[in-house]
């Protein structure tokens, strides 16, 4: 494909034909705000926050759906552009709850970020506000459609990636709302057909969809994110464990995940409570007269080693066996293989590969 050379903010750039102005700008490290745009999804060009000024064009085209042309001269932060963006934010704030202080998305909200960036403190359009009841029917997601900016990313991710078409726009005009068919609760799974994967929460730019179990647990800047690999099926998804005060408080997508990108299943995203479950074993147990007695690590390991040594001496290596684990790490499995083959002296080692 032919290359196109254009100018963005006075800088020259050459990109393949068919590239959008937004993509060219991203490539140059220029940050153009977006709400409805997502590189993985179709491009409705709906929200208009990414408008730019292009020399010779009468209006301000949205950069996400405008393809580059030879010699194009683009301004991404001209006065006209900034004014247009302010108006868009102003209009969005006109119908948005001003409850940022208690919003789970505080500190990680695109609407707030852009309002801050363009200095839109409050709305100038005073009028009605929508008053939809929150949808708390899902076991894992909370939806507050009063906060929704109708970017449609949840609609598209569910249709185009997850393939379930749970959401769509309902009603019209001021009362437009994203909802499952017939406006049932998301948690009415037989009706909504939601599989609770949370890809919608991963793309929502505002606080309209949030992880229920993370609500009130931490602000984004208090959280340490640790990228790791999911402990469930063999897909090998990566995600961020969200840690606060030494506890895992949630799982969020990590877009750099090689297998899964931002997508996870319900187990990967919402299946971590077991880590801090109150019935986790915290001390070794030795059975005495059919009862388990808590002992120290030293005592437990000393006892285990002496019993294993005894049985090996008395009955030989073939009386010993090891069941390793498909749950545990490679390093642990390697060491279990050494436990069997080196310490016990037997090839009696297996794990649950067949189950």
């Amino acid at each position: 494909m032919a290359d196109i050379t254009l100018q963005i903010n006075g800088q020259k750039v050459t990109v393949p034909a068919g590239t959008t102005v937004l993509e060219a700008a991203v490539q140059m490290g220029i940050d153009i705000p977006t709400f409805c745009h997502d590189p993985e999804l179709s491009k409705p060009g709906a929200c208009r926050i990414c408008v730019v000024e292009i020399k010779g064009l009468r209006n301000l085209p949205p950069s996400c759906v405008t393809t580059v042309t030879e010699g194009m001269e683009v301004e991404t932060e001209s006065e006209a552009v900034v004014n247009a963006r302010r108006t868009i934010i102003d209009l969005l704030l006109a119908n948005h709850p001003q409850d940022c202080m208690t919003c789970q998305k505080f500190g990680d909200c695109k609407l707030a970020d852009y309002a801050y960036r363009y200095g839109v403190r409050t709305t100038t359009f005073i009028g009605d506000k929508t008053d939809f009841p929150p949808d708390e029917s899902s076991a894992v997601l909370s939806r507050d459609m009063n906060k929704c900016i109708l970017c449609g990313k949840c609609v598209r991710v569910c249709a185009e990636i997850v393939g379930r078409n749970v959401y769509d726009f309902t009603s019209r005009g001021f009362t437009t709302k994203v909802a499952p068919a017939l406006d049932v609760g998301l948690g009415e799974l037989d009706e909504s057909h939601c599989v609770s994967c949370g890809s919608c929460v991963a793309v929502c730019p505002v606080g309209a969809i949030v992880e229920k179990n993370m609500k009130g647990k931490a602000r984004p800047w208090e959280v340490k994110k640790v990228k790791t690999t999911c402990p469930y099926c063999g897909c090998g998804c990566n995600f961020d464990l969200n840690v606060k005060d030494g506890k895992v408080i949630g799982v969020t997508s990590n877009p750099t995940a090689e297998v899964n990108g931002r997508h996870l299943c319900v187990k990967g995203r919402f299946g971590y409570d077991f880590i801090h479950s109150s019935d986790r074993l915290t001390r070794p147990l030795i059975k005495k007269d059919d009862d388990f007695i808590e002992v120290s690590w030293e005592e437990a390991l000393r006892y285990v080693v002496s019993r294993l040594k005894d049985i090996k001496e008395k009955n030989g290596s073939e009386a010993m066996g090891v069941l390793s684990s498909a749950r545990c790490t490679n390093e642990e499995n390697y060491l279990m293989n050494k436990m069997a083959r080196v310490a016990f002296g037997t090839n009696n080692i297996d794990h649950c590969a067949r189950l």
Binding site: Y232, L323, M336, N347
Partner: protein, 525 residues
């Protein structure tokens, strides 16, 4: 998998056999949806009308255990109609004549009844698979958990080699592994017949190599599999067993037998996060550390080795690898590992597929084995240009019915598997609040026609019995299962289906036949 997950979207023919992909490998199913969006053809062979079956262009509602008839008849059609890849067969394989004779009798007309699909449908699928530019096979336990599991896999390999649909991008044989690190556990030699890296214990060169590396004479005698260990414990030959992070009291077939076996052991150590059904039987229980509490690596179904990173301190103070290393020391083999990375480095030295990997490299990005040298980029798909053994070998395999089929007393086939919301024996997922709210109770799927005959309604309690035991479980009346079959998972201890399952095994791989056994059903009044 011989292919990579990100190659799936470019497949133009997906043949999914014995895999409930949307529930058991949800993220892989997203890639399959991408392929469908790109115009691929999807054929699903599964007795149940699973979600992936509903997405398929053709769903073959395979009768239980009819995998070989389906695969063999496809080969028969492809050979009869001259659709096989003659160049691939000539240059890259051996034993074609054996296969040709082996499948000669497998005409679609002869086997349509056994398979449960019209002969013309079988011909269509065979033609589509052979003619596709990039066809790939995906399978899970529906292929392997049979007394003919190994032969089923050979039949899969026959089809892929016959059509040259292997050894290239988006085309190959793709077993989807069910557990996070089942691939890695196998790679690491947690198997009775191979050292790390699939180096056979029966090969004297390997025995010498590992004896030298580990400073301990190695045995060339193949060890016992899980099932064989249970038998050996039962008859008193196995005295001590160390179980790490497994729960055979729920996951293994014929739980009553497992329980007797574990009780007969002189000494049982269980290392786990929780006091599981298995841990209850132990002499010593050592607390385990969850994936969030330790460093290490997991290897996924596409051979991708990825970092596991410690996010919080181990609840009980020690990571599992530290505990095992301390026991090694106590047993007279002092360890020198300061970190999981040190263990990995030692492993990489003796495991050719991992030889080029290190934590430093994996922190930059994951790597797919084989990765033999530090400058090797890893391997996206296997068998390009050459098979591991040189020429791909065709193996003629014949149809053998499952070990236990329905009869007058036990008239239903019990099929078992997994649910989207839970994992294995449920020790982790059942402690997740959201998952338990969504799917907090197990049920057994029964066809409406069968339910009607038995006077069973949705939600009724059923007593399901086999020759080995019985459980009580709620009915879910649905046409997801065909008439004559019931299906449930093994996630729930309250309805532990493995009290019912048959421990009859494949004679080669020793995998139990968890997909087919005979049961009877009574309504609990």
């Amino acid at each position: 998998m011989t292919n990579s997950i990100n190659e799936i979207k470019n497949c133009d023919f997906l043949f999914v056999i014995g895999s409930n992909t949307t529930e058991t490998h949800p993220i892989i199913s997203l890639e399959m949806r991408k392929a469908l969006g790109n115009g691929a053809t999807l054929v699903v062979a599964d007795p149940r009308k699973t979600e992936i079956a509903e997405l398929a262009n053709v769903h073959v509602a395979l009768k239980p255990g009819a995998n070989i008839p389906l695969l063999n008849t496809m080969c028969n059609v492809i050979i009869a109609e001259g659709l096989y890849d003659k160049e691939f067969v000539a240059n890259r394989t051996e034993g074609f004549e054996e296969l040709r004779l082996g499948v000669a009798n497998f005409t679609p007309e002869n086997y349509a009844g056994i398979i449960g699909a019209p002969a013309e449908t079988i011909r269509e699928i065979a033609r589509g698979f052979a003619k596709a530019k990039n066809a790939a096979i995906f399978y899970t336990m529906g292929i392997t958990q049979h007394t003919t599991g190994t032969h089923n896999v050979l039949a899969v390999a026959n089809l892929s080699m016959l059509t040259g649909q292997i050894g290239k991008p988006s085309s190959g044989v793709n077993p989807l592994r069910g557990q996070n690190n089942v691939q890695g556990a196998c790679d690491m030699g947690a198997l009775p017949n191979v050292f790390p890296g699939y180096q056979a214990v029966t090969d004297p060169a390997n025995v010498e190599k590992f004896s030298k590396t580990w400073g301990m004479q190695q045995s060339s005698k193949v060890g016992l599999t899980v099932g064989e260990m249970m038998d050996a414990a039962h008859n008193g030959e196995l005295k001590a067993l160390y179980i790490l992070g497994e729960n055979p009291m729920l996951s293994d077939p014929d739980i009553t037998h497992v329980e007797h076996a574990l009780e007969k052991l002189e000494f049982l150590v269980v290392q786990d996060l929780f006091l599981t059904e298995t841990a209850m039987l132990a002499d010593v229980v050592l607390p385990g550390a969850s994936f969030a509490e330790k460093d290490g690596t997991f290897s996924n179904t596409e051979r991708r080795v990825q970092r596991v990173r410690k996010a919080v301190e181990p609840v009980a103070g020690k990571a599992d690898w530290e505990v095992i290393a301390e026991i090694l020391t106590g047993m007279g083999f002092p360890h020198k590992y300061c970190s999981a990375s040190d263990v990995f480095d030692e492993m990489a030295k003796v495991t050719p597929q991992y030889a080029g990997m290190s934590f430093a490299r994996l922190d930059e990005g994951s790597l797919q084995w084989p990765c033999p040298t530090p400058d090797h980029a890893g391997t996206k798909y296997l068998h390009q240009g050459k098979f591991s053994r040189g020429l791909g070998k065709f193996s003629a395999v014949d149809f053998e019915p499952p070990a236990e089929l329905p009869d007058a007393e036990y008239p239903f086939v019990l099929n078992t598997g997994r649910r989207l919301y839970h994992y294995h024996t449920g020790t982790m997922t059942r402690r997740a609040r959201g998952l338990s709210i969504i799917y907090g109770e197990e049920s057994i799927e029964i066809n409406p026609a069968d339910a009607c005959k038995l006077g069973v309604c949705e939600g009724d309690q059923l007593k399901v019995s086999s020759r080995r035991g019985s459980i009580t479980i709620k009915a879910n009346v649905t046409d997801r299962v065909p008439q004559g079959m019931v299906f449930t998972s093994f996630h729930f201890a309250e309805a532990a289906v493995n009290f019912l399952t048959n421990s009859a095994c494949d004679p080669i791989a020793k995998i139990p036949e968890l997909k087919v056994c005979a049961v009877k059903i009574e309504k609990v009044s």
